[in-house]
Symmetry: C2
Subunit: 103 residues, 2 copies
DNA sequence: ACTAAAGTTAAGTACCTACTTGACTATTGG
DNA sequence: CCAATAGTCAAGTAGGTACTTAACTTTAGT
């Protein structure tokens, strides 16, 4: 959880994720549009991979990366729980206020 | 977006959010269960507040903090889009494979 | 007025993160 | 075999982050 959110808390890595949504890509393809060195991109990919958001296999001399949606879903669920719990709390509070009627 | 994810990418701050889901709380109440100094908690609250996840008002000498669900919803939507786009992509790929039938 | 409570500010420190460059290791096509 | 391609490893650096303690400012109770 911590790892996943830390991984997504970087705009370069979110760019990589958005690129990978369109389909698998090699390290070089991922690095091309980014204004940074290839090793830097590699480090970002490692972060994404150890967070479980991306997987990659190397065949020959090219490593191909693809998305792993399970990680995204996990965070999404955590967020959804917090938000809906809070909204239910607000609803309950609203009902109370209407019942007691302070206005 | 960047700010929101960076804010949530810290377990202490996620603890604060989870506490605030149960309802508003003062800085002291929020700090009490955490094994760190009060100024540290203040800094975390400032991060959450400038990310738009928390709002607070000071009345007398006590500052009361409460959640702002809009920020959570924004991230949730971004995640949902990436994930569902990817899953649709996978489905389309699956259909193609079944159509072409390589097995 | 005096003290305690609740918070705020400022400054400093230890660690972490996002890069860099340069050297190196495979693969692959000619 | 030779050179170019694709990626990897290692080390170093600049800036950011999560704290700390100490000093200070309000407000509230007696």
């Amino acid at each position: 959880m911590d790892q996943v959110l830390k991984a997504l808390a970087d705009s370069t890595r979110r760019d990589l994720v958005e690129r990978l949504v369109a389909g698998p890509a090699s390290v070089g393809e991922l690095a091309a549009p980014l204004a940074m060195s290839l090793p830097a991109v590699m480090q970002h990919l490692q972060v994404l991979e150890s967070a479980g958001l991306v997987r990659s296999e190397k065949v020959g001399r090219v490593r191909t990366c693809h998305l792993e949606p399970a990680g995204l879903r996990m965070v999404e669920e955590w967020l959804g729980h917090q938000r809906t719990d809070w909204e239910h709390h607000l609803d309950a509070l609203g009902d109370l206020l209407q019942e007691g009627d302070l206005s």
